[in-house]
């Protein structure tokens, strides 16, 4: 095979057994790799009703065909499993170098199954695979884990590991690689912890075989030039990082504030990308094969919150900032460092603390519940402390570790949770930006902006501008972004590559690399196939159309201030059209005709 290695590695932790199997060429063609191929394996091998933290759940580390090649901005891999936060299928996407290294070690996918009797890590050096004791590493932070395992294996080993939060099964724990990169969403780190698996360390020295070297080199060069020539891919993201979005989203009245009580934060500029670049940025940082360099390596000098590390990204700065009513970027950045060290998803962490603050201000929670810390909106010191407590599941942190839905439901007030399918949304208010509300409601892994980033059109005007406040055309927009993203994720490319290239260039590179002729239409069809397969899996897991909704606050309580004052999300005007355009019935179930068209029956 070209593009694919042709080998899948399977590690059974219960039996301490390592096996290899051939990658099915037909499956590879139909699902590409990463998120798509992983979803196919989950569908074939894992009962959707499995307890996500039981040995019956599986954890799939999957790079894509582009991983480990010279394709620009292709440093991503996916972690596919049943997410413990949502109960839905989770494909958690991550950058850095781990995915490329796993591919160069010779694997299209690593499947981890069962549960180790005691803590272990897996050490992969090309075709040598060992399961090693990790008892002495259990309890260590992500940076210390990384350093200790590199000292025991290879100083150049790339690690995907969990911190204390994953070990203690915080329901939104991450898997971290290169210390600061997170497979962040849906609690994939808790699944790893449930398996007593502390880390995967890998060194790969192989090369990915290319079907048509000349055509591939030409297509790669063209894609690279387009990304570098693009004003966002070539310049803006390196200069200001993703946090440059803070001000524009606030200026259009779409920045969720104080647990979505409002959608405008007067002090947004104090926590945005301009401020981060001016006062905190040491250098931009890039994933493997990427020139965009959106990552931020930063330093906080304020002794109270001093430290160095990566971040914050936009979603992080928002969740730990305006969503909690906080405008202290020192504290936000420190909380981000803590999340990275403990292995916690920053989005769910911030929104869960915001939910607790909202309930504290309403008198539902008291000082007795919160370990004596006043959790009023804007209390930056308490926010930072709650991150630490959550990662270690200490005191009130043990309840925060369940996420906002279970926390609020446990208090008898689930309406305080800003979540869809129990997962917290990102930094775009669906009352101000209609299409992202539909996208959150229909996202297969719960509320998530990167399943279909309609913000690109609705706010940024990329590739074309559509009015954020209207509902017309938003069903088609969400579907287009969802399908494209599913295919793109499966290739190993980064979503930010689309700030320069699109489905045409992706299909061209994939064809030259693999030797499988993907037209643009076929590439997008793969995305649609993956989306529908994820939907089928979720339906079998017990989800129904009733779960395709938004928190009542976003449907009924108008925004209070700012340019979008008075707006609510009008999901009921978009969802029926979405189902119809998807070829699903009124209950959101894919029809036989659609499934046949996608070769899913």
């Amino acid at each position: 095979m070209f593009g694919w290695t042709g080998t899948i590695l399977r590690v059974d932790l219960t039996q301490r057994r390592v096996t290899r199997e051939a990658t099915d060429p037909q499956h590879a063609k139909m699902y590409i790799g990463a998120r798509g191929l992983g979803t196919k394996f989950m569908y074939d091998e894992v009962d959707p009703r499995v307890d996500p933290l039981s040995p019956g759940n599986k954890l799939l580390f999957a790079p894509g065909p582009f991983s480990g090649t010279h394709v620009p901005s292709a440093g991503r891999y996916d972690l596919i499993t049943k997410g413990p936060l949502t109960g839905a299928i989770a494909a958690s996407n991550c950058g850095g170098t781990f995915g490329a290294e796993l591919k160069q070690a010779g694997y299209d996918m690593l499947i981890v199954e069962g549960r180790a009797e005691k803590p272990v890590y897996v050490w992969i050096k090309d075709d040598q695979v060992k399961i090693r004791d990790a008892g002495h590493i259990w309890g260590q932070s992500v940076p210390d884990t990384t350093r200790m395992i590199q000292a025991e294996t290879d100083e150049d080993a790339r690690l995907a590991c969990i911190g204390p939060a994953g070990e203690k099964m915080v329901l939104f724990a991450c898997v971290m690689n290169e210390m600061h990169r997170a497979a962040g969403r849906s609690g994939v780190g808790a699944v790893m912890g449930s398996k007593n698996l502390k880390a995967i360390a890998v060194v790969g020295t192989g090369r990915v075989k290319v079907a048509d070297g000349e055509a591939f080199a030409s297509a790669v060069l063209k894609a690279q030039q387009r990304i570098q020539a693009h004003p966002i891919g070539g310049e803006a993201l390196k200069a200001y990082g993703t946090n440059v979005l803070m001000n524009v989203i606030n200026e259009v009245g779409g920045l969720p504030t104080r647990n979505h009580r409002d959608a405008h934060f007067p002090n947004a500029d104090k926590v945005g990308g301009e401020m981060l670049s001016a006062k905190y940025l040491l250098r931009p940082k890039a994933c493997t094969s990427c020139s965009i360099s959106c990552g931020r390596f930063t330093r906080v000098t304020n002794p109270k919150y001093a430290g160095e590390g990566e971040g914050p990204e936009y979603e992080t700065s928002w969740a730990l900032g305006p969503e909690c009513g906080i405008d202290d970027l020192d504290a936000i950045t420190k909380a981000n460092y803590l999340c990275n060290e403990l292995g916690i998803d920053t989005i769910s962490m911030g929104v869960t603390i915001a939910c607790a603050m909202d309930m504290y201000q309403a008198g539902i929670l008291t000082l007795e519940d919160t370990d004596g810390l006043p959790l009023n909106f804007g209390n930056a010191e308490a926010m930072v402390e709650m991150v630490r407590k959550t990662g270690l599941r200490q005191g009130f942190g043990d309840k925060l570790a369940l996420g906002s839905y279970r926390l609020a439901e446990g208090c008898g007030h689930p309406e305080y949770s800003m979540s869809v399918k129990k997962q917290e949304p990102a930094a775009y208010d669906p009352r101000a930006i209609q299409g992202i509300g539909l996208e959150y409601a229909t996202s297969n892994r719960g509320a998530c902006h990167v399943r279909g980033y309609t913000i690109a059109s609705e706010v940024l005007g990329n590739p074309t501008k559509i009015d954020q406040h209207i509902t017309q055309g938003k069903a088609e927009l969400a579907i287009t972004f969802q399908n494209l993203t599913a295919a793109l994720d499966s290739s190993g490319a980064c979503l930010f590559a689309t700030f320069g290239i699109g489905q045409d260039e992706l299909a061209e590179m994939l064809s030259a690399l693999t030797g499988v002729p993907y037209s643009t239409e076929e590439f997008l069809k793969v995305g649609e196939r993956i989306w529908n397969l994820e939907r089928l899996w979720n339906l079998k897991a017990g989800f129904t159309a009733k779960d395709d909704t938004l928190p009542q606050r976003l449907l009924q309580e108008p925004i209070q201030t700012g340019p979008s004052r008075g707006k609510v999300n009008r999901l009921d005007q978009m969802l029926p059209e979405y189902y119809k355009l998807r070829g699903w019935d009124g209950d959101g179930i894919p029809g036989q005709e659609k499934l046949q068209e996608l070769s899913l029956v």
Partner: protein, 90 residues
């Protein structure tokens, strides 16, 4: 009128926000006045031959000018205009 600048545009103007007193009936008039004030670097970034640069984002009271008529968007003295270069993220 209040004019707010962000990211690279802020670098070009050297200011975060200004109170702008020169009357302008439309966004096009305002942008040309601003270009005259801030010079060629700003002009190249925000204006094209036939109007606003297709890559910048200009908001009038939080509404994207592309939905208000572009350079023909009417302005009032108490409006807030926000100007962004091409940006992205997520």
């Amino acid at each position: 009128m209040k004019i707010r600048y962000f990211a690279r545009i802020r670098e070009l103007t050297g200011e975060n926000e200004v109170k702008w007193d020169k009357p302008a009936d439309t966004l096009g008039m305002l942008m040309h006045d601003l270009a005259d004030h801030y010079g060629q670097g700003f002009r190249r970034r925000v204006l094209a031959d036939d109007g606003l640069s297709s890559t910048i984002i200009v908001l009038v009271n939080g509404y994207d000018a592309r939905h208000l008529g572009g350079t023909d968007a009417p302005l009032r003295p108490d409006d807030t205009v926000s100007i962004f270069p091409p940006i992205g993220g997520g």
